[in-house]
Symmetry: C2
Subunit: 648 residues, 2 copies
């Protein structure tokens, strides 16, 4: 199976290279679009390098500790996880910033051409993430045949992911909120207007947050789920190890095939959203067919059922997210905004909280059914199944910010309004897929956490919890509190950085009157620096919290307290993440619904109320919410590693 | 010890009778204040009777089931718990509505006289609640010597409490929000203006929500904590049973003494808040001294330490709540409102979420230390210790809405503006004590839940939880989701009822022009009916959720799943409740801070932003938040009863 895996990796690498050449082949446009694109790339690169300069020293210190207390293989695995994760994000970001101007230029030729470039850019990211993940795991497993080392790899990946998500999340939302408050509300500039001093920072934010941050995020979900499945498989049955490698190999190949088919057949679809949906469903069908054949060959159909269950629920959660963040729900939310911003806030909060119920029931069903079919390994495998076509689904996710950037560049470079129409269409599809991707990320995080929790139980040798030992309960209490504290810190980071940004934008507009009249170019770099500095300064503490708290709990409250902290953080974190994603998504779309001309349209009081909702929702859905997914997994993997370490 | 308890109860009854006579002795004022007070009382009575008409049939059906499957003692205990709880709320409400006009009339003579009447009214409620709670428990224990029956008593109390809290909470906030949106914002009427059609409904709301609802709430906390301590004591050591009765007896007597001293010495304090603080601290010191002597006599000092710990942390949590809802935190929140409503929302949410950390650490410390001293019984005893002086602390809590109502009556009856100044002063003290009371209620709920959880473990015979059995995890997931769903439902109930209220107020103002000019009295009853109908219709489903979900979980997922649901609901519920209470409290006070003239004062854009924050915070802090405390305890006690039932 491993040989097949490496074969698939070679195919994937070839595919990525071809995609890159095809992207670079298309025209980056005129001088202006090239200049803008390079400015965005420069800003994003500079942020990522400064981010690495902060967290790689921490990583090397941890690696050194691992080397001193354990051995060099563990240390190297840890570093490899961190480096590969950073590479995936960095690489995706570079290609995304190469694709943005090309997409806007391609839009001159029409929608299919623009879609092709933007989706190719996303696909580079999607396929790279899964390839790099599998390469690391495959190599470690081939060389050592010891799953324990993969835990360090996974730890490295999670560690980087949290920093990347939190840092990128703070950056993107601080720039976005800052640009909106002064630019849109006070100076009445349209979105992506070159006169807005924060406009480049805003576009950089899309790349460092939604591309690099999300890449690292899904990379760690993928690696974490595969690790937990492998760890459980080695204890139970060697056949299961093969099944996991088969599943991820088929998943990678199915994703590549779907990407290629979407790119070639994409023109036949009039509507970009149906093209992307077709590709996503195709990849799921392909992997399902492969797994059916595989299960038939090894005569263990339960593997097929569990994988199908994971894939199916992943899709259903997407629809549930869509249900809560579009259609009737959003119309009702927009209607409640006619009674003022307070009403829209209350209804939005209540909508997000209500949505936790359906997603919870779905997660519970997956867990119980897959457990019945294959035990705890089944739960882990269903998570891997859900994430197996990540190559395709991440391509769709990463396509969004590229389309968004393309629109920004078109606007700033003053391209034809038809171009902007096309990029807007691409962008709005991206918003829907982003919302669905969030539901998917939360569900897979919940399943992966549970699987990691079982691994923790194995390595910490706690098979039962004493119900009368209050450490379980107090641990759960602390665990449940952490996502709240973590959200508070990241939201405050966005708020504080946005405040500084607002002041800087106001200062520039006030001191240099030529900016608003369009004669003088604003000082974009100052805004980029503010976002960079703010994000980097404020990402460290919340991120370290995730690592330090389970370790401290382990030493203070013992293994049972750590079990408690994992249960508490997972259950409260999942609820908060669902609530934040769906409230935020619904507010965002309610604003768009009003902007389409309903309930008074743009400029009305109702519109103002929905803008407030959207601004509140932004840090919830794009900073705090997605980071919680990584928080709970990083806490789980840290506990696993701590228990392994202590157990030696 | 039981004889002493009944002695204390007799003293308490005498004290309540004297207090009532003294209240009735003071003048209810002129024709207008009497008319207003009677209108409020009529509205409140009518709501409570309709509420009883809805939940008593449900209670009798459950009692019948208990009778059929178990025996008549259980059924009667259950009914007694429900009836006593309702009585406590009803009685408190009647006296509160007798005291309101008298307080405003008393304010003519000066602040001490008004304080005396309002606090006497609160004290009737405070002492009645603890007396009724102890009477029920004492009688059942004396007659049966079987703690199991007290679980049914506690179940009855919790059941009523949840209905009363949810129903009252929806009523009071729907009326408040409705009155504010149209009255204050649209028609520019001041607070409590008789031209506002919802003004009487708003004042009725204070009585049914903040008096009757809160009375039933603390009644059930008190009974629940005593039950769980007794249940643990009977297993461990008979001496502990005596210690509990000693503690509650001393607590009742200390409360009575403190009430009497506060009333007689109250005039010596210039400032009402120091008088009330003095009384509160005095009651804690008195009970601590008594318990020290008692511990010395039975030579078991750990009892003293645990009780002191509970009392001390109760006080510290109060200060933490004060820290987050006043002073620098509130000034910063008000400052962030200068950047618009979205900023104030984000910062307010983040403030509340951050505050969960300190409270969690405090709860964890109490649990771990009291467990070390006296095992699980210690945890239960610390909760009883915290609640032992409920007679005094509830007197302070219930005084707030009476002062609030007195202010409303003074305004509506057109009394001298000096009267309103005095009642405003009394009211603002009430707001602080109410915020502190919330922190206290959450902390004691967390401790009581843990103690009930241990009882559940005993009766369900689950001493260990299999960590690899996913029912624990899935149960915790469902448990964590329920407070979110529950909050969504109650908040939506407030929103929907408020919407209908808004339409009715707008209709009246539009159709009858004489209302705004003050020539025609608005149709108060229509608004009262809307609030009543809305609250009663929408309280049933969320309340039943709390009873049905643990029972269903027990039968579907088994005892371990139910353990999971209890852990999950407690940890996520406690976090949500802290978050909601403190965000709401901070928004409320930020608005008041701006109204005092800071950052532009009344009418400024900043003021508008803080009004939005306050309106969003209202259903969070006064409807959803406090109900969650009861939700988690009702789920726990339902699980205990279900396990006892199945175990037979």
């Amino acid at each position: 199976m491993l040989a097949l895996l490496f074969g698939a990796i070679v195919i994937a690498v070839c595919c990525v290279i071809i995609l890159i050449f095809r992207i670079l082949d298309s025209s980056p446009g005129n001088e202006e679009t090239i200049r803008l694109s390079e400015m965005i790339q420069k800003g994003a690169k500079s942020f990522l390098f400064q981010e690495y300069a902060i967290f790689f020293p921490i990583i090397f210190v941890i690696a050194l500790l691992i080397f001193i207390f354990l051995n060099w293989i563990c240390a190297i695995s840890f570093i490899a996880g961190a480096v590969f994760s950073s590479l995936a994000g960095f690489f995706g970001m570079i290609i995304a910033t190469k694709s943005n101007a090309r997409t806007s230029w391609g839009a001159i030729k029409g929608l299919p051409s623009a879609l092709r470039i933007a989706f190719s850019g996303g696909a580079v990211m999607g396929i790279s993430v899964s390839t790099l993940g599998l390469l690391g795991i495959g190599l470690i497993y081939k060389l050592t045949r010891n799953v324990e080392y993969i835990s360090y790899y996974s730890l490295g990946a999670s560690f980087v992911a949290l920093f990347a998500r939190v840092g990128g999340g703070i950056y993107t939302k601080a720039a976005d909120v800052g640009a909106d408050i002064v630019g849109k509300t006070e100076a009445n500039l349209p979105e992506d207007d070159p006169r807005n001093p924060a406009v480049i920072a805003d576009n950089v934010g899309d790349n460092v947050g939604d591309v690099a941050g999300m890449g690292a995020d899904l990379y760690e979900s993928y690696v974490g789920s595969i690790f937990s499945a492998l760890a459980l498989a080695t204890i139970i049955d060697a056949r299961f190890t093969d099944a996991i490698f088969a599943l991820v190999t088929f998943g990678l190949l199915s994703s590549i095939a779907s990407v290629v088919i979407t790119l070639t057949a994409g023109k036949k679809f009039r509507d970009p959203s149906s093209a992307l949906r077709f590709g996503t469903i195709l990849s799921s069908v392909l992997v399902a067919v492969c797994m059916f054949v595989y299960s038939a060959v090894i005569n263990l159909y339960n593997i097929f059922f569990v994988v199908i269950l994971g894939i199916f629920v992943g899709v259903v959660v997407g629809f549930v997210t869509e249900f809560y963040t579009s259609g009737k729900k959003v119309i009702n939310l927009a209607k409640s905004a006619t009674m003022g911003p307070a009403n829209s806030m209350i209804n939005g909060i209540s909508l997000g909280m209500e949505s936790t119920s359906v997603v919870t029931v779905l997660i519970v069903l997956v867990v119980l059914i897959s457990f019945r079919l294959l035990g705890l390994f089944g739960v882990a495998l269903s998570a891997v199944g859900m994430l197996s076509t990540i190559g395709m689904s991440l391509s769709v996710d990463a396509y969004g910010p590229i389309a968004d950037n393309a629109g920004g560049i078109a606007q700033m470079a003053g391209l034809d309004s038809k171009v902007r129409e096309i990029t807007d269409k691409l962008d709005s599809v991206g918003n829907t897929t982003a919302a669905m991707g969030k539901g998917f990320a939360i569900t897979s995080a919940a399943l992966t956490s549970l699987a990691l929790f079982s691994n923790y139980a194995n390595v910490a040798h706690v098979s039962t919890l004493d119900i009368k030992d209050p450490t379980l309960f107090t641990g759960a209490m602390i665990g449940a509190m952490l996502p709240f504290l973590f959200s508070a810190l990241t939201m405050k980071a966005v708020g504080n950085t946005a405040d500084i940004m607002v002041e800087e934008i106001r200062r520039q507009i006030k001191e240099v009157p030529g900016i608003i009249s369009g004669q003088v170019q604003p000082d974009y770099n100052r805004c980029i620096q503010i976002a960079t500095k703010g994000a980097l300064k404020r990402m460290v503490f919340p991120s370290l919290l995730a690592v330090i708290s389970p370790v401290m709990t382990y030493f203070v409250l013992g293994p049972s307290g750590t079990a408690g902290i994992l249960i508490g953080s997972t259950v409260s974190g999942v609820m908060l993440a669902i609530f934040m994603a769906n409230s935020g998504g619904a507010w965002d779309n309610a604003k768009k619904y009003v902007e389409e001309g309903h309930y008074g349209g743009k400029g009305s009081l109702t519109h103002r109320a929905t803008v407030i909702g959207d601004t509140v929702g932004d840090p919830l859905k794009d900073t705090a919410g997605p980071s919680i997914n990584i928080l709970i997994k990083l806490m789980a993997i840290t506990s696993v590693v701590t228990a392994i370490f202590v157990g030696r």
